[in-house]
Symmetry: C2
């Protein structure tokens, strides 16, 4: 039976020792003392460990069941959801105006990593609701906010995002769902949406669907898309529930993973919908939700690596098999534990170095969102630039690391009972939804890199350059961390120059290297994070801490990242520099 241990010590190291959030000047952070966050994260971690993790396999095995239009979630999900709700966790970083606790998003991200690691399918119900909350909060009318947000903050009502249709996902310009204006100012929504996570279930009184649709006569393509609130049950003025809206779950998809989450085909048959914001401006509102969702999905990728790693590590310490090549490590036993074998260690180190770097990356990114919410334009530019990286890199790597953790188990990893297969299967979707990772790469190279005249990208490089410059007097840091970071950062700049020099003539020259660029960027981000953490650890050690081992091992893990993982930037650059030709050369019919 797999287990989960909340990484509280590591989160404290990132939040307080490295990011020093309480003194970072971001409003809302000043109260987040180490004791305060520790208390909250400890409670959140208990729920993850004791309530959500034990339901993870249950959710996978039972899945959701559709009967007579009603979706039954797996055994225990509803009780757990009630518990999460009762603890106020669903509104942790929501606006107090609507019943939220008003905590920073950064804290929500830390809690999110834990809840998602423990049970990804389960955590999506509240996660999607949060996304829908954000879209209404940012773009809804006052009346809409009063009507829907308090119930969504508490997750008495949950939310969904309805974008995809059978014939279109990425290319939303093609969508066909219609919104016909009614005399009372509402719209009649008709169409079919697919892949709707949490589209129907038995854990909430109401479900608030956010639906993209076209108002007939509007502009063609994405410029004619509007966003609507389409509640499962209509809501009376006094907030009580009214008639059932004509919308239904037509089918549950059989998926590779996240079986505990209901992935619905949703049919809208003249359902009453309410326009959010302006007509034909739906995509902008949807992107409020999407950007937040993308960071959330990046956290999902990371989180599945975390839980998979923890169990692989326990297995490697426990399972005895073979002898260390340098001589028996446990001569009193019939064999040595797996962890003596260098290749097993390599797999675990890959995971550990990715996870700790990725945790720093995601919490740093979350802190930028908080700063941006409080008007920091540079933070806004930076997180906007890094959002596709966070989504694409953390999910690609999360899947790879979950696969590698499964590998540590040998044959047992392939048997469902041991739980490792589920982490791989669950992690797989994170590379696909909220914009497949190729779309993230396109967003990064085709849009974000040159956004605002390239200012955020320049600021990113400047930030790294400054950090290196300010710290290169520190010998150990310079050798183990700053040198490799400099090389990697230079690779990234060279790649950007290549795009600028060649992408103008031939945009394919940039796009052919887009995924490589995203990974190159991701490695530089994690390399930078590791350099920051290395600095923190060195400084802590110099102050003779009570737990020197923690810092020494942090440095060891960081050195592993810098020496064995970061050099991937060179390969990525070489691929980028090979340009469009190898990728575009083959006629379509020759594939």
């Amino acid at each position: 039976m797999p287990t989960y241990t909340p990484p509280l010590r590591d989160m404290a190291f990132v939040l307080h020792e490295t990011l020093a959030i309480e003194s970072s000047g971001v409003p809302g952070f000043e109260d987040m003392t180490p004791d305060f966050t520790a208390a909250i994260l400890e409670e959140a971690g208990k729920i993850a460990r004791d309530v959500l993790a034990p339901l993870n396999q249950v959710g996978d095995v039972e899945g959701c069941v559709l009967e007579n239009g009603v979706v039954r979630t797996p055994t225990g999900f509803k009780a757990a959801f009630d518990m999460v709700r009762a603890g106020g966790w669903t509104g942790l970083d929501c606006d107090p105006e609507y019943g939220g606790q008003g905590m920073p998003y950064t804290l929500g991200a830390a809690v999110g990593e834990m809840h998602c690691a423990a049970n990804m399918a389960f955590s999506m119900y509240a996660g999607l609701t949060h996304g829908a909350y954000s879209a209404i909060h940012a773009h809804g009318s006052e009346a809409q906010k009063r009507t829907y947000l308090p119930k969504m903050v508490s997750c008495d009502w949950t939310g969904t995002m309805n974008l995809t249709e059978p014939h279109c996902g990425t290319d939303l310009g093609l969508l066909r769902t219609k919104a016909v204006p009614q005399d009372d100012g509402s719209y009649a929504i008709t169409g079919q949406k697919i892949f709707i996570s949490a589209g129907e279930h038995d854990m909430a009184e109401n479900i608030i669907h956010l639906v993209l649709a076209k108002i007939p006569g509007g502009p063609d393509g994405v410029k004619g898309i509007s966003l609507f609130i389409v509640p499962k049950f209509l809501v009376h003025e006094d907030g009580s529930l009214g008639a059932r809206n004509p919308l239904a779950c037509g089918k549950l998809e059989e998926k590779m993973g996240i079986h505990g989450n209901a992935t619905c085909v949703m049919n809208y048959d003249g359902a009453t919908g309410y326009l959010i914001g302006d007509a034909h401006k739906g995509l902008r509102a949807m992107f409020t939700m999407m950007n937040e969702a993308r960071i959330g999905v990046g956290l999902q990728g990371l989180s599945q690596a975390v839980i998979a790693y923890q169990n692989a590590r326990d297995y490697a310490l426990d399972r005895i098999q073979g002898r260390a090549v340098t001589g028996a490590a446990a001569p009193d036993k019939a064999a040595d534990p797996l962890i003596v074998h260098p290749d097993v260690r390599r797999m675990l180190m890959d995971q550990k170095a990715f996870i700790e770097g990725g945790r720093m990356f995601s919490l740093w990114g979350a802190s930028l969102i908080d700063a941006a919410h409080h008007g920091d334009a540079q933070a806004d530019g930076l997180i906007s630039l890094m959002t596709p990286v966070m989504k694409g890199f953390l999910t690609d790597k999360g899947y790879e690391m979950a696969t590698q953790a499964q590998q540590v188990y040998g044959g047992h990893g392939y048997i469902e009972e041991w739980g490792m297969s589920q982490y791989v299967r669950d992690a797989r979707i994170a590379m696909i939804y909220e914009g497949a990772n190729g779309v993230q790469a396109l967003d990064l190279v085709g849009r974000k890199l040159m956004a605002d005249g390239g200012k955020p990208a320049m600021a990113f490089f400047e930030m790294i350059k400054t950090f290196i410059k300010e710290n290169e007097g520190h010998e150990a840091l310079a050798k183990d961390f700053l040198g490799p970071l400099k090389t990697a950062s230079k690779d990234l700049q060279t790649a950007m120059m290549f795009f600028m020099q060649n992408g103008m003539k031939n945009p394919n020259a940039a796009l052919a290297g887009s995924t490589d660029f995203l990974h190159l960027f991701g490695h530089v981000c994690l390399g930078y994070c590791w350099a920051l953490m290395g600095k923190t650890a060195h400084a802590a050690l110099a102050a003779a801490p009570s737990d020197p081992d923690f810092y020494e091992n942090k440095i060891r893990t960081g050195r592993y990242y810098m020496s064995r993982l970061l050099p991937e930037t060179g390969l990525r650059l070489a691929r980028i520099q090979s340009g469009a030709e190898p990728v575009m050369d083959l006629p379509a019919e020759a594939f």
Copy 2:
């Protein structure tokens, strides 16, 4: 519904145009004219396409069911197995002495790729039987061969390999299954074996289990292991079936994939077994089976990439979404097909370049086995060296490529109905069984590299060097193929030197880089294969062939491999050169 197209043209290109097997001087090959192999492969391909592929999803969804000790295979499996049997496919490359068709193993490998691509779980029943056949053929007594082989060649009786026990897989020295000598010369086998593929099923009259066990009083560890034939039904002298042996399938494992294959817990309760070869020499006999099985598993990895690629390509040509960045490619449609997008092409090119290189690699390897069977010591050394590479590299990459093919489908890839998830899930096991890929890396670096005084490794480098030297006058070949191959091969040699210089002092310095070395080696093998194919294609084009497109596209695909995939060798080398420290530095308790 996924489909499968036998890659007949490509196989002909490899077998006859590049390997030129019919004139290679290997006995048995001289009759394999292009027409002859084309006729056989076409028939084998039809079975794959029309009989096996349609059952692939059936097998995945239904799985195998254990009821009252009897395992029911999925609907249609038995009829298909009868058809494969009736066509003589199961004995294609078996000894005519026992009813086989006596064809080269190389042809069997080509058929194997197709049958496995179409239905991996199904193809394992005959595949394991073939492995058991080989072990008995090589190590059994005359009487044993007469008794078992004819029925196994025809697959009227199937075979299994029983190595793993709950507490040991890789470390067979720990095994506990006992073989107690009986007065009649047989042994009473008692113990539990796990992960026994095809351990029990309803498609054969009898199942011949090959079981590793210890004879009490024998040497400790792997030196005390013996191999036994333990039939499900005892066989009378006249060949008719006798009493049921006290052995049974106690449980079927719930696995991530290959659901159509019955993975059994096998309980032996004093079952009658017959020693194969000498007592305590079982491991050697088992390795006859294992080495063949490892190449077969490499083919499995390749094959899942093939079927996944074919369907992803079809989807990318058919599905319209978005517009080419360089302007509409299908202006008459609402959007362009996916294949116009550079990043979609990148994914498909990765797959195509791997598949065609991997096909050449596996058929070349198979031809070396044929040569080795006919006494060619150099071929034997070479294939022995490359076996772990073929297993490890082709399965790691096969899984990665299947995952990438799934990615082309976007959200649909995650839905079981589309079939892509199954290829990923099925491919996953190939990285684990028959020696997990980390064990392959250990075998390569710890054993094969220095085997026979390093002669095979030296011969490998010499072969590449000679090829480069002989062809560097060919300008296009030199620029696109030989240059990159030279660089990659040099990386491999540098890595080997690093191991030799550092591995003596500290074996961990070599083992920490073992997986990287395996991948480095795999890339050099595929780079060499691509260079060979590039040469063939250039030569063919010079002779004004009727289908110049085929050769031009072969060169384009090869250039992709050389410019975008082969440079991974540099990264692998950098990791290897980082040595043992980053991998071994962290105390076990700090993970």
